[in-house]
């Protein structure tokens, strides 16, 4: 059969173009006769559109490759992007699966109650849905004030709705990326250096000789730039010290692995300070010149000897001395990595303070091979009238209790939405953009109660998740490959801007976040804040202020700008001034002393594992970020199920085998919804189990009588967040420590037992 005939056949049958990367395996030998064989897209045939990845917060810049038919074929890193250095991680490479996912939210949905009292969603037009949202926002305003409408958000979708809410008059907002992730770390570093770390963390791994990872799991998280830099460090033969109760991927690549007893990090950090100070391994000149409170710290850490720490951490004192000397020997070219998801045990600001102090002792802050001073582009915001001043904001909710609540504390916003809350700052409605508080803000019971108690809930998302079921209105957002968002202006070695430009038109009836926000804004009479029709106009205006344009950015994707300040502290002509009370690095925090927090980190024990239970450690697999990525067909293919790591000794005691499906019951008696597959492995301690994050999706909605769900991800494994019943609140920030939860292994299906009994 000639080629011509095959094409005709395709045309006649109207069959989908063969050979899409995400076409499901249709197969059948008959069809193969008539199918044109898929051909790789050659470099010179590709149409390339710049993008900024949204599969995680690293926001790597890349190119979306389209074929001549305008179909997305692949995504490749942008060579000039400092975040990706031309190489995306598996999630970025597989990001196109988000676009092709059939389970996406496709049309606006409105909650209805049927005659039988059962609730379901019905498909609605954009006008109807947006009118309803605007009307409800006005109603909440009339009844309780705009401030009672809270915004929870994540990622690049967030800023569009932040703008909307600020313009409207509510600043009751927060993102789980704060209190459930890195706020404690930011607070710890701000208290020490007067500066946070933000993203990407300005660690100079490129030039370091010694990298210390404590609660950092590169290779399992794919924080792209750092993973690449660490790989180069391995090539250079640099030292890597990994502290982890698990034999993590990085532990496997480390010079030295310290298998620590969970929840005792601070003891090790203090003991390291003890050795570094007492053996004179610290950078004396640097400490004298830039720090405040050294003598106080020296006295403070005397009791934290390695011998003492051995008893707490189970790490031999000899190893503590040895690793402290390794760091001291490499100083100042040392990075004690601050980590990112620092929601550990409820004293996490102090834990991060200890990491910050340790870096200060080693003289690594602002030094080559330590931490560089990052710089970003000064990109003016588009002009608009001043935002109205709300009667109260997230600050009023949290700042009274937590002086270092530098971002909206999501869990406290949730607290203020509970029926039992009886204060002045009541939250009565939620606008939730691109986050799934059921999984992202444990314990889920509390988030669920808050949502049940809310009078109105709007959800903007690309995928159905647990949260979708709590919405009154669901607004389907276009994926990052189909939309324009704010210019990525992250600080880095080189100031740079990156553009996310839509590679294709939004699929189904989805719309970009900026469009949704603007349409609501117009309906609320906020025309003054939306003096443009297309968000591209805003970006173009902004870019022109710094000598670029949308046209140029579409061509290059990433633009570099010259630095205006030195990258390292030694290159400053005048003495460097830190943004703290003393103008110095505060080993002793004067703010904390004033506010009644420990001015220097004090080791406090955390809940011990109850007898017969195991500590639940959660983390990541490199191919997934969170619940939203699990259903991505390409990433699902890489990892479909989580595995619960169990030490062989524990497995023997429980009588469980590798590959067996088990259920978990936590220390509060809560039983997991689904089972999970056991992996018996020497990579985990006997007192803990490990579960990767984000799995165990149980979101399911009914749309016009049909079940709508993430069909691939639904019910696969146990959601770690489901087993987190207790969160320990960090006093300085209000962040949630989530690592003191304990589980038991159940080999029989507990749900079946219940059914039998009843």
């Amino acid at each position: 059969m000639s080629k011509l005939n095959r094409r005709q056949f395709l045309k006649i049958s109207g069959a989908a173009t063969a050979g899409a990367a995400v076409l499901p395996a249709t197969g059948g030998w008959f069809s193969s006769l008539f199918k044109e064989e898929p051909r790789p897209l050659l470099e010179n045939e590709a149409v390339k559109v710049p993008t900024v990845c949204e599969v995680c917060f690293w926001n790597c810049a890349g190119w979306t490759y389209l074929d001549k038919e305008g179909k997305i074929r692949k995504i490749i890193g942008n060579e000039t992007d400092p975040h990706s250095q031309g190489r995306l991680c598996p999630r970025g490479t597989g990001g196109l699966g988000m676009y092709y996912d059939d389970d996406r939210l496709k049309t606006p949905l409105i909650r209805e109650t049927g005659k039988d009292g059962k609730q379901y969603f019905r498909k609605a037009s954009w006008d109807e849905a947006l009118d309803l949202v605007a009307a409800k926002m006005k109603e909440i305003d009339r009844k309780y004030g705009k401030e009672s409408f809270a915004l929870l958000f994540h990622g690049k979708t967030g800023p569009h709705f932040e703008h909307l809410f600020k313009a409207w008059g509510s600043q009751t907002m927060g993102e789980p990326a704060g209190a459930q992730c890195l706020i404690t770390r930011e607070a710890g570093f701000i208290a020490t250096y007067g500066a946070g770390l933000a993203s990407p963390e300005p660690t100079d791994i490129k030039n370091t000789d010694c990298l210390v990872l404590i609660g950092s799991h590169f290779g399992e998280n794919m924080h792209n730039g750092h993973v690449q830099d660490i790989s180069d460090l391995i090539d250079r033969g640099g030292t890597i010290i990994t502290v982890d109760p698990r034999f993590s991927t990085m532990a496997g690549h480390s010079t030295k692995w310290l298998p620590i007893k969970p929840a005792t990090d601070l003891a090790l950090l203090l003991a390291w300070m003890n050795v570094i100070i007492n053996e004179g391994l610290y950078d004396k000149e640097y400490v004298a010149r830039y720090t405040y409170g050294f003598d106080l710290l020296k006295a403070h850490v005397q009791k934290y000897t390695p011998e003492w720490a051995e008893g707490v951490t189970t790490i031999p004192a000899g190893d503590i001395y040895e690793t402290a000397r390794m760091m001291g020997g490499a100083a100042p070219r040392v990075v004690v990595h601050p980590g990112r998801h620092t929601a550990w045990y409820g004293d996490d600001t102090q834990r991060s303070r200890a990491i910050a102090i340790l870096n200060a002792l080693l003289g690594s802050w602002g030094r080559k091979g330590g931490f560089y001073f990052p710089e970003k582009v000064h990109l003016p915001q588009e002009p608009h009238p001043p935002f109205p001043k709300p009667k109260w904001t997230w600050k009023d909710i949290s700042r009274g209790k937590h002086k270092m609540a530098i971002m909206g504390i999501t869990n406290e916003i949730i607290d203020h939405a509970l029926p039992e809350y009886d204060g002045p700052y009541k939250v009565k409605a939620f606008f939730i953009a691109a986050t799934n508080p059921i999984q992202s803000i444990p314990p889920e019971e509390k988030s669920k109660r808050a949502l049940q108690n809310a009078e109105f809930v709007v959800v903007v998302d690309t995928m159905p998740a647990e949260i979708t079921g709590y919405a009154d209105v669901v607004l389907p957002e276009a994926t990052y490959l189909e939309r324009l968002d704010h210019i990525r202006n992250a600080h880095h070695r080189i100031p740079n801007l990156a553009l996310r430009y839509p590679a294709v038109k939004p699929k189904y009836e989805t719309k970009p976040g900026w469009w949704i926000a603007r349409e609501i804004g117009l309906r609320l009479g906020l025309k003054d804040f939306y003096e443009w029709e297309d968000f591209e106009e805003v970006l173009d205006w902004q870019l022109r202020q710094v000598g670029s344009s949308i046209e140029e950015m579409k061509r290059i994707g990433v633009k570099h700008f010259p630095r205006k300040t030195p990258m390292y502290i030694d290159d400053y002509d005048e003495p460097y001034w830190f943004n703290t009370n003393t103008g110095k690095i505060e080993l002793y925090s004067t703010d904390f002393a004033e506010w009644g927090y420990d001015p220097m980190p004090v080791y406090k024990p955390h809940p011990e594992t109850p007898p017969g239970m195991l500590r639940l450690i959660y983390g990541r697999v490199p191919m997934h970020t969170f619940g939203r990525t699990l259903n991505n067909p390409n990433l699902f293919e890489l990892r479909k199920d989580p595995e619960l790591w169990v030490n062989p000794k524990v497995a023997r005691i429980y009588g469980i085998e590798n590959g067996q499906m088990i259920w978990l019951k936590n220390h509060k008696g809560k039983v997991s919804s689904f089972p999970v597959k056991v992996r018996v492995t020497e990579r985990i301690r006997h007192d803990s189990v490990f579960l990767p994050h984000g799995f165990g999706n149980k979101g399911r909605i009914f749309v016009d009588g049909k079940v709508w769900e993430m069909s691939r991800a639904y019910g696969r494994g146990i959601a770690d967040s489901e087993m987190i019943s207790d969160v320990y609140i960090d006093p300085e920030t209000g962040g949630t420590g989530m690592r003191s939860n304990f589980v038991q292994i159940l080999t029989e299906n507990p749900h079946q037992q219940k059914n039998n009994a009843s």
Binding site: P40, S231, R639
Partner: protein
């Protein structure tokens, strides 16, 4: 010309980027993969050893797959790359049985599919897709006949091993220790 690949097990973190990059580059249908990652764990806590091996067709010097192919669909091209011509393949499975590495599989359309070392990219002077995306830069592709190529130099200076040398196929994917 003798193309080969070297993978640095000291650097690989087993993220699977090579797998998904291959999928999008070569239109590998969902549910199938030309490359994959094996995790190797040895020892007893806390004396544990771990590394990852990104695996694929070994483009062997001695090719049982090509030998057993009844139609000539499986063949070797310039540089020792083993390929399958899809419309010569009858899908008998002989080559799948012959391969000790599980590198070949039935494409849902019936023919046998496998890694091509991205010969369409190599022809343009590019690295295979898996090599070009790897965030740890743990993969090296090149010509063993050229003593100055990076891979030749690496194999001269670093200890390495191949998979199943006992199967006698002279595999051309090298793992650096």
């Amino acid at each position: 010309m003798r193309y080969a690949m070297a993978l640095d097990t000291k650097k690989c973190v087993g993220c699977g980027d090579c797998v998904v990059a291959c999928q999008t580059e070569n239109n590998v249908p969902l549910g199938y993969s030309r490359d994959w990652i094996t995790e190797v764990v040895k020892g007893q806590y806390p004396d544990v050893f771990l590394h990852f091996e990104s695996q694929r067709c070994n483009h062997c010097e001695d090719t049982p797959c090509v030998r057993t192919c009844p139609t000539g669909a499986s063949h070797v091209i310039e540089g020792g790359i083993v390929k399958v011509t899809h419309d010569e393949c009858i899908g008998c499975g002989a080559c799948i049985e012959a391969c000790p590495y599980d590198a070949r599989y039935f494409h849902p359309d019936g023919y046998v599919d496998k890694c091509t070392f991205c010969d369409h990219r190599v022809a343009d002077g590019l690295d295979p897709a898996c090599v070009s995306v790897c965030p740890t830069k743990c993969m090296y592709f090149g010509d063993l006949d050229d003593p100055d190529s990076e891979i030749s130099q690496l194999l001269r200076t670093r200890e390495h091993y191949t998979l199943l040398p006992e199967a006698g196929t002279a595999p051309q994917i090298y793992y650096l220790k």
